[in-house]
Structures are given as C-alpha cells and as structure tokens.
Symmetry: C2
Subunit: 380 residues, 2 copies
C-alpha cells in the first residue's frame, strides 16, 4: 500500500470502468470488477491475482494474473457468453506481505484474525501508515469475509518463479497444490565471554549451535524430504562484538512442504535437529513459533479445466506444486480453486531480472480464459 | 572519553596533586604523575594502566593497575627511596578501544598512525566527539611519541580476566607475553533466490559457507593450536529476509596466538578453511584484513623482577601469557616491559560480575611496588 502501489490501483480502477465492469472496493481494499451476466443472486466466480510487488521485484509477479483476468472478462463480455455464474476480476491487497502476507485474500476468505493485525510482518507502524494511505481500517479487514456460498470458485494465472517448466519444455504448469509454510524464530543461548581470555574449551559459543543447525537442516531436508525446502534467511549474534564470544545466536527458520503429513514431519525433524545442535554445544534453545500457512490442495475441477484448456490450445503441460505462497491458497479455504503457471526465464523471481516471454503470457491468458469458462460451467 | 571517563580522570588529577606528584597531560590525553627523584635528565620508569572501561564492564579492569601504581609511588615518595631513574604513574587514554584500541599507549609509543585515526573502531564521529570532549586533537595524538631513550621501562598490574590463576591456586601471574590479535572481515558470496521456488540443490546459500567455516575454525583451532583462540563475534546475512536465500554472509574473524610463528600458522589455517568452506558450497569468498597486533613478549628483566618480588612476599606464581590486549604491549615496542596479573573470581571479565578479592589486590600492589623497585634499579 505504498504510493506506487496506490497509483497502480488507481490506474486499475480506470481500466475496470473502461472495460464496462462494475467497480467494487471491499473493506480489505481488494479491487473487484464485476461482470454480472449470470442469473440473479447467483454466486460469483473470481479471476485475478495481485498488483503489489516486493521491493525491487519484477513486472510479472501478480500483475500478469490480474491483467490477464481483466482481459479474459473483456473478451467474455464482448462475446456475450452466457454463464451460470457471475464473473469478477479481482486485485488482492498486499499479497506479498509488506504488511501482512496474503492480507487481502485472507480477509476476503474470512481467515484474517486480530492476531495477524497485532503482529504484522512489516511492523505495526507500517501497517497503520499503509492502511491510512489506502483509506482502510483494521475493523474493515476483519469484516471483509464473504458469506458462505457467495463464491463459486477462483482461478489464478501466475509466473512459475522457478525452473521446472523451462526444464520440462512445457508452456503451462497445472498447479496441484500450494506448499505449506512454517515460520520459527530459534535462539541458541550460551554465555558471553572475553574472546581473548576464555579458552576454546571453556566457551559456550551460541554461534556454534546455530552454525551446526544451519548445516544439518540443509542436509536432512535434502536427504529425507525431496522437493521440500528449509531456509535460514536472517541471523544475529549478540552482543555482536568482534571480541566477545556470542551469548545468543538468533535466526529465522522457514520451511515448506507440499502436503500436511510431510509438512509436520519436516517441522518435527528440523526442531529436533535444532535441539540436538544446542545440546551438543551445551547451549539452551528457545523456540518461538511465528506462524504457518498449511498446504492448500487445488481443486480437481480446476486442475482438469486447466489441463483440458491447454490441450485444446496444443500447449504442453506438467503438473507441479507451488513452492511460493499465492492468494489462491487463501481462497482454497472457501471455494474450489484452480491455478496455472507460465515459465519464468531462468526461474528469476522477486528480482528485476524476472521475465516471461510475451508468447508465454499470451498462452497463459488464453488458458486462463478457456479454463475459466470450463470451471464456470462446472461450478455454476 | 565519555562523560563518566572524563569525571574519573578529573578525580585522578586531584589524586596526583594530593600525592605531591607533578601532573602532566600529554597530547594523547594520557595522565601522568611524575615523581622526579632520579638524577637530572634521566629516563622515566612508568607504572600504570588505564581508567577507561568497556560499557557495562567491571571496577577492576584498568583501574586497579592505575591506582596501585599511584599508591606505589606514594609509598616510594614517603619512604624517600633513592632510585637511578625518575618514576611516573600513568593512566593511558582509551585502552579498551571505544574509539581506537590502545589509543593512548600507542600514541605514547609513537606507533599510532594516521590510518588508525581514519578508520577508528568506534567510527569517525565517535572519535571526533570523544577528542572534542577531552580537548584533544588528532595531530596531538600523532605527535605524542616519546623520544627514544626517554623511557627506562614500564610495569603494569592487571586482573587476569581468566581462570588460570584460580585453577592453579596461584596469587600472582608472571606474564611472559601478550598474544597477537588478527582481525578479518570474511564475506561468503552466493546468490539471492526465492526461498519457496528454489530447490535446495539449486541454491548458492551463503549462510552454508559461513556456518561450515564457524564450525571448522573452532575444531582446527582446538586440535592444532592449543592455547590459541578464534572467534566469530558478529555475523550478518543479506538481503536478510525470512523468505530469501542469503546471497551474502559476512562475519568478523578474530584470532589470538602467543608468538609470531603460531600467529602466522593459525592465520594461514583459518583463511585456508574459509576458502575451503566457500569452495565446497560453490560460493565466492571476500577476505578483508582489518588489522593486527603482533604478539608482544615481556622483558626477561620484568619477569624476573615480578617473580622475585612475589617469592619475597611468599606468594605463589605461575607463568602465563595474556590472551587480552594491554597497554603493556604498546610499550614493549620502545622499552623493557613487565606485567603481572592477580586472580579474577570465576574468570569474569568485561562484565559487572568482574571481581578480585581485596587480599589479591593488596598482593598485586605489593608485588608491583617491589618489582618496580627491582626493575628501576636494573634499568637505571
């Protein structure tokens, strides 16, 4: 909800109006453009993604899916296709979590809780400032959930952000599910000592426990959990002086697995290894659970619709799970959801190097359109 | 040179005056109290230490040696002992290196260089502010070196800051030398990637190289360099996000060895291990040498004088090297130097837990007095 994002959304509102769709901005700031062609009081089938981006990110992550959805609705409106549901394009607020991960889609799904607002990823001040800039209120976010049955389904096109399509020579990825993500803060606790007068043998060096864990976490994830990932992205030593043995080594642990059983097994293994690494060095370990998104399977109806649409367009597909989080996982809690990927050149993501060829973008938009028609027929 | 330190020095100037010594504040801010009892134009034998402390440090580190030296000179003056040298008590500026490590003693020894002032440990702003508060100027620091031959020797009493005296049941440590200290910044360089979409196999995770090095540095120092230490006290991962594979892991490496051959061998081993750890993970390594203090042997005359004084006072001694840096190492470059330790309870140091019993303090002051008389006679 920074200035550039708000500018993009103002532009998007103009496009919705220009396309002859009915604009709705919900209490979570999600932007919808309604094409109310279905029977009266029928459910709405959503197509979309998000316009926000990480800092220094690329042009495709989110924006592609939002604009392709708008184009699909424009085509459907122009072709005067009759469907058993209403359609709407949607741009979700703050998917990337500059404030709160998947903020808009979780609000819409009714799964955003007061505790998410109290402990936002970007800090309380950034959240307050962002909401104020966008004219939103915390109460609105908590009351943006749609009534049960009001949504017929959701379909999202996104860039893959990985190498699997490129490596397989496929144009379309049929997403089978979105990985679960677990977040922890781990702190290894030893004792601060003078780095000159305390022998190596007498030390309780917190950095040693953290270093051991960083290595074993990688080794065992690779050996025991193929396709899963575990990442230590931040680490701090305290007191943090050149000449003091570290008393505390705190780090962030993030891990991802495609299904809930694997997710829990990986979590159990990683926490066990942290405890073992601490004990081996005589350190204490503090484990702080910072949250999780459970694995979200995509609807078989959605997967079939995407595969069928691609086949009809003579595009090669592979089935794959998404290692990144997406708004689709929020929606999976309340309605049937489909998700498709197009290739990312070199797998680059969250980077200015991010790129997808225009032909792949066109392929994705065509599959989105056809799969949406399939799903809307099936789910109406 | 913070406010509390300046207050302590103002108090110390009063004590010098009250003891009937001639106050001198040199261009490096070192405070001297002269007892000019020797022949005209003879060299000066210095006794002292430093009054500055690390933040949240204890009451004994530095202050003990400074005040014991003042007391020794008071006794010598009252007893009207005739010596072949002049005596002076000295309080060195900023031993701990809040601004520049061993600033005052290196200035007095003439070994402080413009590059030390340009890259101060505490940052240029802190240095400017500290010098201004104390009424000092950079040029003064660089011109505070004493003429060759003007110093007859130096003797320093200090707390051990370790456990060796306590473990040996000894009251006095005869310091054989002060360890050399090497400082490096090491940066392991990989590639930032999306933590969800980049497989473990495809990563160039800088944290893995750093973690491997932290562990092997400890193992090989213990196995191949007994009595030496190696410490990683600070570490940073970049870009430093929970969900991004670290592209850079930068850390501080500090190592200490008692003699120059061992010092160079340890340095060679540690840097080799950093290179090996980087290569094993496909990472690049950037090595930045941040400085060093070479090992400083103490004078045999000083060691003999301390041992003899302790024996005469019926105090048990052990020989040991100092793992911490001291002003004595600066002075060792220009005159014969002696250094003695008294026990630190539990080895606590740079901590409010720092403590030495009053009896140990008295023992140390008595040995300082007697050893100073021995050394002054030998070096006059």
């Amino acid at each position: 909800l920074g200035e550039a994002h708000l500018e993009a959304r103002a532009w998007f509102r103009e496009q919705i109006n220009a396309a002859g769709l009915a604009l709705e901005v919900d209490p979570a700031g999600n932007h919808l453009g309604h094409l109310n062609g279905g029977p009266k009081d029928t459910a709405t089938f959503l197509l979309g993604s998000h316009l926000d981006s990480v800092a220094y990110g690329g042009r495709f992550d989110g924006a592609l899916g939002t604009l392709a959805a708008l184009e699909a609705l424009t085509v459907i409106r122009e072709a005067q296709v009759s469907l058993p549901v209403n359609l709407a394009v949607i741009d979700f607020s703050d998917e990337e979590g500059s404030l709160i991960p998947l903020m808009g889609s979780r609000a819409l799904a009714g799964t955003l809780r007061p505790e998410h607002l109290e402990n936002p990823l970007g800090g309380p001040e950034a959240l307050q400032a962002g909401l104020k800039r966008a004219g939103l209120q915390a109460e609105g976010l908590l009351n943006a959930g749609r009534p049960p049955g009001s949504l017929a389904g959701y379909l999202e096109l996104h860039i893959e952000q990985g190498l699997r399509l490129e490596e397989a020579g496929a144009q379309i990825g049929v997403v089978s599910g979105i990985v679960g993500i677990g977040f922890y803060h781990l702190t290894f606790i030893g004792r601060a000592d003078h780095a000159g007068t305390t022998s190596m043998e007498a030390r309780l060096d917190a950095a040693q426990g953290a270093a051991s864990f960083i290595q074993t976490a990688r080794r065992s994830t690779m050996a025991q959990f193929p396709g899963c990932v575990a990442t230590v992205g931040r680490m701090q030593l305290e007191p943090g002086a050149t000449n003091i043995v570290p008393a505390r080594a705190s780090l962030t642990l993030e891990f991802r697995a495609p299904d809930e059983n694997t997710f829990r097994a990986l979590e159990h293994t990683l926490l066990g290894e942290a405890a073992t690494a601490a004990a081996a060095q005589g350190l204490k370990l503090n484990i702080e659970h910072r949250g999780e998104h459970l694995p979200a399977p995509m609807s078989p109806i959605g997967q079939a619709a995407i595969a069928e649409a691609a086949r009809a367009l003579d595009l090669k597909t592979i089935d794959l799970h998404s290692g990144a989080g997406h708004d689709a996982q929020s929606l999976a809690a309340i309605c049937p959801v489909g998700m498709l990927f197009i290739p990312s050149v070199d797998g680059a993501s969250h980077s200015a190097r991010e790129f997808s060829t225009w032909q792949d973008c066109i392929n994705g938009a065509n599959v989105l359109l056809q799969a949406a028609l399939h799903m809307a027929q099936r789910l109406g």
